[in-house]
Amino acid sequence: MNFWYFLTALTLLSALMVVLSKNPIHSVLYLVFTFFCISGHYVLLNAQFLMVVNIVVYAGAIMVLFLFVIMMMDLSKNMPDSKTTITKLAGAVLGGTLLIIVVAATRKMDLREVVSPQTFSSQTGMVEGLGKILYRDYVLPFELISVLFFVAMVGAVMLGKREAGERNF
């Protein structure tokens, strides 16, 4: 439990640093560190598979692409403040909505119901259990998500592809 507090404090601190640091590269690196802290939480929750997938997908691939793009930008040039009042307002509304959803979901959860050691299976978060649940109980949503991913991929290729003679957006 003590380790949980330490990890949570570290997560919150690095997440704050993502927002507060001036240099975008530092922001991305703090974000990578935040993902590692979240992976630590997954380990504490006995979900090894989620932990390693979180690292492979987010820290290993998406954040590398983020860094890749930010490094290409000229950071020494002082960019004009592009955040107008409307974008700030929209951000506040979106963030607030997300916060309300999370709080509402947390309120519904009954924390008093402690899992009894007799019925608790230590294999809950392991990859075998996860695979069985995904492919037996939730196979339709799972397959639909893969279709969604495919559509997103095709869309990305369409956006990125430049025909000969066509204007580059």
Binding site: F49, V52, A59, A61, L65
Partner: protein, 386 residues
């Protein structure tokens, strides 16, 4: 409590030993790299420091430490220091899940697993650490505040991401065969000569090409391409920081050799295992198995060097073309082929030899088809231009 503490000490000794072996092999890889290069180019090679020059790595280390440790004035100082450290860290972390041996019997009912951690996601751990390996190069290259270093870093990032995909797809075929993500289980399935290389000839070729690219070795060492980028991402580095970058490359070579031995060459399996167990007991056999893993890894280190001094560097568009239009479709074909072969043989209770024959026949059919297809394309192009 007594048992836990003894087991803890034994595990600590094991981890320390693997760490020492990794560093020792990496140190002497630098020496053998030059010996191999000298042999291939008909030169003498290093022969000054000690007999046959075997103290050359020590001399190099002393030289590296004595050099001025220079940090560019306009660089991001902390990230500049963090770059080589991250490279070393990620290079050393992979060996935690590589099973270097079977269980060792220490007496008093103590069984020591010769593996850092036996998690049931072992191979994904390897994959995750490999995908993190690019951060050291990326951060170091950007923090140098040098255009050549930045281009090197960006090349490293795009190269790693491209080749990771094919590597992941070739691992999936292994997972289908062994039915487990644990590296220990993958090795146990391959015992008594059922090595995965027999079932996965195409997968192994894809994996080794991707390993070359992930280690930034020639012919894929575009991030440090001297002819275009001076020194690439380590242009601004000097002293032991540069040493860490170069050293982590050699560690990566050894560890990826060990991973390939684990995935495709039976890990600690070697011919005559049962005979040794009968004659000298279990522990000797297990220790010989450790020797087998390290020996297989060293063979791969030699192949890395052999290729480096044989094949020239690719052009950048060739590198990307090979990754995206060559290896990824091949890896997908490999997954389908493995699935088909398993469907027709393993599930029907057929013999293993049918599986082996099916795998190789699939690859052969694909090669013949590719040959005819490229011939047809060539003829079409020739007609179009004529």
């Amino acid at each position: 409590m007594e048992i836990t503490s003894t087991l803890f000490t034994a595990k600590a000794i094991y981890v320390g030993a693997i760490f020492a072996v990794t560093l020792g092999v990496a140190t002497y890889s630098t020496y053998f790299e030059r010996i191999v290069a000298a042999f291939m180019q008909d030169r003498v090679g290093p022969d000054r420091a000690g007999p046959f020059g075997i103290f050359q790595p020590l001399a190099d280390a002393v030289k590296m430490f004595m050099k001025e440790d220079f940090i560019p004035a306009q660089s991001d100082k902390w990230l500049f220091i963090a770059g080589p450290c991250l490279s070393m860290l990620t290079a050393l972390m992979t060996s935690a899940v590589v099973p270097f041996g079977d269980t060792l019997d220490l007496g008093n009912g103590l069984m020591l697993d010769l593996q850092g951690i036996d998690v049931n996601i072992g191979i994904l751990w390897v994959f995750g650490i490999v995908s993190l390996g690019v951060y050291g190069v990326l951060i170091g290259g950007w923090a140098s505040n040098n255009k050549f270093a930045l281009i090197g870093a960006i090349r490293a990032a795009s190269q790693n991401i491209s080749y990771e995909l094919a590597m992941g797809l070739s691992i999936i075929a292994i997972l289908m065969l062994s039915g487990s993500l644990s590296t220990k289980n993958i090795v146990e399935v391959q015992q008594n000569g059922h090595w995965n290389i027999l079932y996965q000839p195409l997968g192994f070729v894809i994996f080794i090409v991707c390993a070359f690219a992930e280690c930034n070795r020639t012919p894929f060492d575009l991030p440090e391409c001297e002819t275009e980028l001076i020194g690439g991402y380590h242009t601004e580095y000097s002293s032991m920081k540069l040493g860490f970058y170069l050293f982590s490359e050699y560690i990566n070579m050894f560890i990826s050799g060990a991973v390939m031995a684990t995935l495709y060459f039976g890990g600690y399996d070697y011919p005559g295992h049962d005979f040794i167990v009968g004659k000298f007991g279990n522990n000797i056999a297990v220790l010989l198995g450790v020797g087998a893993v390290i020996g297989k890894a060293l063979v791969f280190v030699f192949i890395f060097m052999w290729v480096r001094w044989t094949i020239p560097r690719f052009r950048y568009d060739q590198l990307m073309g090979l990754g995206w239009t060559g290896l990824i479709p091949l890896a997908m074909f490999n997954v389908v082929l493995t699935g088909a072969v398993m469907l027709f043989t393993v599930n029907e209770g057929g013999s293993n030899w049918i599986t082996v024959a099916g795998s190789w026949a699939g690859v052969a059919i694909m090669l013949v088809f590719m040959a005819f297809y490229s011939q047809a394309q060539y003829k079409k192009k020739k007609l179009a231009t004529a």
